[in-house]
Symmetry: D2
Subunit: 109 residues, 4 copies
């Protein structure tokens, strides 16, 4: 079993043991991801990046990933496939010769 | 190589080909995750969950995952380890006998 | 009529002219605020604060404020009252003698 | 003095009493708005809109408004002006005859 499948299996077991699938519609999962992303932001608020507490970053990041994995599962997406597809797509939006060394958005390149 | 390592390798190649590591400090990566989470939210805005366009969900979710993987890489976190650790920790915050079938937060159980 | 009432009147007219109140339930308004906050964040992404485009900040901030005003209206909150009340409440959480010159959260003071 | 000016005066006094202007660069204020927007979202998470606790909505909304006002102040924006300008601009993006009764985005009308 792949790493991703092992994690997914644990997430699903955790969810099902608590009978929480009833709450996990895609819209609320998207809200959960954003709420957790807000908590991650708070770890960096009013600070230089290196002042953020690593332990907190770890936990908030794990929460974002967990809800993201659960949302993928909800739609039957393969996490590996959608990520590799998006990297390909971004490669077209950001060709190396134009995007190298600049943080501009693709529509400003 | 594990699935997660394959994805990470592609993400890092994409980033390094464009010389973007200079922009990817942890604070901006956290901002990027939140901005992408906001784009995912927008797919569901003013809609029932089932009306959201699946193709859009897929792309925004892949972006959130990509920046999350890159943030983990930045700190040298193992994605598998931090996720499994967090599931364990959440198991203590949400014991099955108290949390089953309710969406209450752990401090309200 | 106060400034806030003038703005609210324009927002409500805009909404009602388009028959949009049907979409503006509090949960979706909260999602809209977060989605707009994500767009504001994007203006600062990978940048120093002073590199952000002022015109963009202005527009995204106006959107956040607009949905915030509409959410207040939905609940019948007075914007002035809830803001002044919160300042008072924060004054208790962050007493000057403890909070002066530090960016720590109230539970770390 | 207008309502908005009264609120701004209180916010600035609160900030200056605590010597917090040093932390309030525009980028961190944008982060603060997003973090607070995430807390507002959490009030609605896994719930119907009408189940959200009104007292919590009030507080989180006040926080979003406070940081939004402070960001406007930082740039010297008039809150009234930028909101009325944006309503005008949105009126062009969403003409009544096309936008009435639909939640579509302007680029889909």
């Amino acid at each position: 079993m792949s790493d991703i499948d092992i994690i997914l299996q644990e997430l699903i077991k955790f969810r099902n043991d608590r009978d929480w699938e009833q709450f996990h519609n895609p819209k609320d999962l998207a809200i959960a991801i954003s709420a957790e992303a807000g908590e991650l932001l708070e770890v960096f608020l009013w600070k230089q990046a290196e002042e953020a507490k690593v332990e907190k970053v770890k936990e908030e990041l794990a929460d974002i990933l967990a809800f993201s994995f659960l949302l993928a599962e909800k739609y039957g997406f393969s996490i590996k496939d959608i990520m590799l597809e998006k990297i390909n797509k971004n490669g077209e939006k950001y060709p190396v010769n134009k995007a190298k060394g600049t943080a501009k958005k693709y529509n400003e390149l």
